[in-house]
Amino acid sequence: MNEDAFRLFYERTARPLFAYLLRVSGQRHLADDLLQESYLKLLSAKLPIMDEAQTKNYLFRIATNLLRDRWRRAEDFAVSTIESSVTDQHPEIQTDVRIAFQRLKPRERQLLWLAYVEGANHKEIASLTGLRTGSIKLLLFRARRKLAAILRRNPVEAREKVNI
């Protein structure tokens, strides 16, 4: 990939990737770090010839692996760090439900994001996350039900619970 091709690819993929990293990790500085690291790994990888969709898929797989490495270390995903996700450019938008979203497990946030924002099917989600295709439907169903319940609940109540 030459510089111009990279610039074009970056312009098309950086925002969705950043949104994914930010909302799954819940931390801006971590999302920034992982965004850059994902592209650096992509550029240093010896890839076969791929179209843009495949390259984007590969990029998301790198980002997902980096996220998994971080949440295995656990300290970056502690509930106490939730506040960073609400201090972005739109603090007034859905602050309570955004906090509530961060109450889901990182894996649940990841599945929901990939399915309903990125529009990935079960097979693609399985390939990105390393989970079995057969278990995605159930995990996704549970995560969705959990988030829907949180969203329907009183947002103030959600915030109070998070702050405990």
Partner: protein, 169 residues
Amino acid sequence: MNDFGCDREESVSEALRSGDLNPDLLSHVSECATCADLVLVSQFLQDEARAASESALPDASIIWRKAQLRTRREALASATLPIRVARGVAAVATFVATLWLVVSIMKPFSWLPDAGNYRLAAEHILTGQPTARWVLIGGLCTLMCACAGAFYLLREDAAEARAHRELLS
């Protein structure tokens, strides 16, 4: 609807992404709890995606330059691997040789058990065999040079690694 979802989930999901939720799907959503959850969650996540994607991002050229730098550093590291291995072997060999030298020059000094007696020890060094004295001085100089060399090599490697880390951060 089944145990883990609804058969029309996919079409609702697709319609939500394209923004074309037709009356038929709308009426289904109003009756199906699973699809109602799906609509609620999807709309929330889409809003979140829109909000998050308005953030300022690093410029592509910065990432490109970092990647070039990293590639160059990795190429350099693999090219200089034999040199670094040779350095390590040389450092170990120097240490072993120095140790051997120290042990071997200590042998002729049978007065060492009296080393606590400084006056006697000084007498042996000053009045003993001139060859033994020079071997002792040479050995000590070699030892000091080996230590200084090892320190210099390690310091240089550490500084190089630090500089690369700073450039990439």
